[in-house]
């Protein structure tokens, strides 16, 4: 078990050095794509905002900017690993005139889906 912990720590350190000195990891495809959301059905995601590693208030501010750009009725996806930001998004959705469709918990992040209302 200790050996496993050691490996884990080594792997983390190597990852971080790569992250500091190279470009941050390749973002997920930011292109529009279709996705099937549980309980909601197929949805066309117009934009994916990758906020991995971002501190507050960056995820919120980026989302505001993107929402101002997309058309009414379109769905955007926010990927974040910031628990405080996730907690803010349902209230943020009210303020920004959009509906918070769903939050999906992944092993290392959350994916939030917001639809811009008319």
């Amino acid at each position: 078990m200790l050996g496993e912990m050691g490996n884990l720590i080594r792997e983390r350190c190597v990852n971080w050095l790569g992250y500091l000195f190279k470009r941050p990891r390749e973002p997920r495809s930011l292109m529009a794509h279709e996705e099937i959301l549980p309980g909601i059905g197929p949805v066309r995601v117009a934009y994916v905002i990758d906020c991995m590693g971002a501190m507050c208030p960056r995820p919120q501010l980026l989302t505001m900017k993107i929402l101002a750009m997309v058309d009414a009725g379109e769905v955007i996806e926010v990927v974040t690993d910031n628990p405080a930001a996730v907690e803010t998004f349902p209230s943020l959705a009210d303020t920004l005139v959009c509906s918070h469709l769903l939050t999906i918990r992944e092993s290392d992040c959350w994916r939030l889906y917001l639809r811009k209302e008319a």
């Binding site: 078990m1 496993e4 983390r12 971080w16 992250y19 500091l20 941050p24 973002p27 930011l30 934009y47 905002i49 990758d50 906020c51 991995m52 590693g53 971002a54 501190m55 507050c56 208030p57 960056r58 919120q60 501010l61 980026l62 505001m64 900017k65 993107i66 690993d81 628990p83 405080a84 996730v86 907690e87 803010t88 349902p90 209230s91 943020l92 009210d94 303020t95 005139v97 092993s107 290392d108």
Partner: protein, 475 residues
């Protein structure tokens, strides 16, 4: 292979349990050395409880002011107001039992200016002083950098040399000299000493009941301090938040054109409960922050002491006490002063004389971090947050990038300077004061809000500039 998969699946639970066991064993070990360490352990376990609640509600007071301007979301401001109301009520009851440990902050322009600098800084660090502690417990190393920066910038502010003495008004040195302080404190040298002895000591700290001259009946005084100074302003602010931030969306969702009074009240309730975690954390933090005062006050009565320094002396630990044989021991939730002591202690070990000033030398001392009771409260917050974050699988090591590290350190330095000028952070100078009848906390909040507003403006400019350079939204 079998054990590997078990480890993979239960790693977070295992780590979480290890922290609980370690804190419990550490507590028992301390008690076995001397049962009077109970006084210190009260800080540890209340810190742990604060950490649990902060993580549970993702309760960040920086977000309370920042999000109002940055994204127009009142979630955290509402949570903070709930906590203030609850804390005020429990604190009022504690005051009636005679075990209140509260002492008011002095009132003056320094609070507004310090709070402004503090409020400006928290926008860049992504968390206030206690917020940074609980985020460090979630594995966020940016926040750990913030704590570092706050610790050392405060220590440098209070013990700094005489470079800025020329900036102080002439009256301060005179006034400081007139206080007749021991020579080893050199009160006329060092900006912060001049500020403390020449300015702050001439001011008075008081509660609303004293200002209004109603002190003969303790019950009336408590009622004034609790309801007039805390609960009533909270209700006014909640209504304000509702009208400015929540009502529009609420009306839209309700689909009515005109609202009855009942609808409006339901709307306010709706706003308060829109994030259940935050509201519950506010309730919990308010109640336990009040209970903390009671437990420490009762223990002080039991040991017949006014300050932990006396207990340390009795136990034979006299290193690092101030010249009055005291250490920092607020008796309630406090964040920044003990962090200044960590920074100061390290600098003292590096050979810099840190005791020739009022802050450490006369008031707070520089105890070994292992004997620093409020310091353990801060560590408790980190560990409490880590316990819950691990259990909820939200713990994740987050490494700084060059940009976030720069913001963490620069913002942390500003927070440290602001916290010392204002004599506390959003916990010590706002949360703990307004709830105990001291109106100076509301001035702190005003300064912090204005600072937050300015910070958000600068931060948004920075983000726009950066995005326009990258020319895409890929971060």
């Amino acid at each position: 292979m079998q054990s590997a998969s078990w480890f993979e699946l239960n790693r977070h639970r295992l780590y979480s349990a290890m922290i609980v066991v370690a804190v419990t064993l550490g507590s028992l070990w301390a008690l076995s050395i001397d049962n009077r360490f109970l006084y210190l352990l009260v800080y540890v376990w209340f810190g742990l409880i604060y950490g649990l609640f902060l993580q549970y509600g993702r309760f960040c007071m920086a977000a309370a002011v920042r999000d109002l301007f940055a994204v127009k979301v009142p979630r955290m401001a509402v949570g903070m107001m709930i906590a203030v109301a609850l804390y005020a009520i429990v604190a009022g009851l504690v005051t009636l039992t005679g075990h209140s440990t509260f002492h008011p902050n002095v009132l003056g322009w320094h609070i507004l200016i310090g709070a402004f600098i503090f409020g400006f800084g928290i926008v860049f660090t992504g968390g206030c002083a206690s917020g940074s502690l609980y985020k460090a417990g979630e594995g966020n190393l940016n926040s750990a950098l913030v704590i570092f920066a706050i610790s050392f910038s405060q220590a440098m502010v209070v013990a700094g040399g005489s470079w800025f003495d020329g900036l102080t008004p002439a009256g301060w040195a005179e006034s400081a000299l007139a206080k007749d302080m021991p020579a080893e404190l050199s009160v006329t040298r060092g900006w912060f000493d001049l500020f403390t002895a020449g300015y702050v000591w001439n001011l008075k700290g008081t509660t609303l009941a004293e200002i209004m001259g109603v002190t003969e009946s303790p019950v009336t005084a408590v009622l004034i301090n609790t309801f007039l100074n805390a609960v009533l302003p909270v209700l006014v602010l909640l209504v304000g938040l509702y009208v400015y931030y929540f009502r529009k969306g609420y009306v839209r969702r309700l689909g009515k054109s005109s609202l009855t009074l009942g609808d409006e009240l339901a709307g306010i309730w709706n706003m308060c409960t829109s994030s259940k975690n935050t509201a519950l954390a506010g309730v919990g933090l308010g109640i336990f922050a009040g209970l903390h005062m009671y437990v420490t006050g009762a223990l002080r009565a039991h040991y017949e002491i006014f300050n932990f320094g006396e207990l340390l002396t009795a136990m034979g630990y006299t290193n690092g006490l101030s010249i009055q044989d005291t250490v920092f021991d607020p008796g309630y939730w406090y964040i920044t002063t003990q962090e200044a002591q960590w920074g100061g202690w390290v600098m003292e070990r590096l050979g810099i004389d840190m005791m020739d000033n009022i802050f450490f030398g006369l008031d707070n001392g520089l105890p070994n971090p292992l004997l620093n009771a409020p310091g353990f409260m801060s560590i408790g917050i980190i560990l409490g947050a880590a316990i819950l974050a691990l259990l909820r699988r939200e713990f994740k090591w987050k490494m700084p990038t060059w940009e976030t590290a720069f913001f963490a350190i620069a913002g942390g330095i500003l927070m440290g300077i602001g916290a010392r000028l204002a004599m506390g952070c959003n916990i010590g100078a706002f949360f703990a004061t307004v709830t105990n009848g001291d109106p100076s906390g509301w001035i702190f909040l005003l300064g912090m809000v204005l600072g937050g507003l300015a910070g958000v403006k600068v931060f948004t400019k920075w983000m726009d500039w950066k995005l326009s350079r990258e020319d895409s939204f890929g971060l």
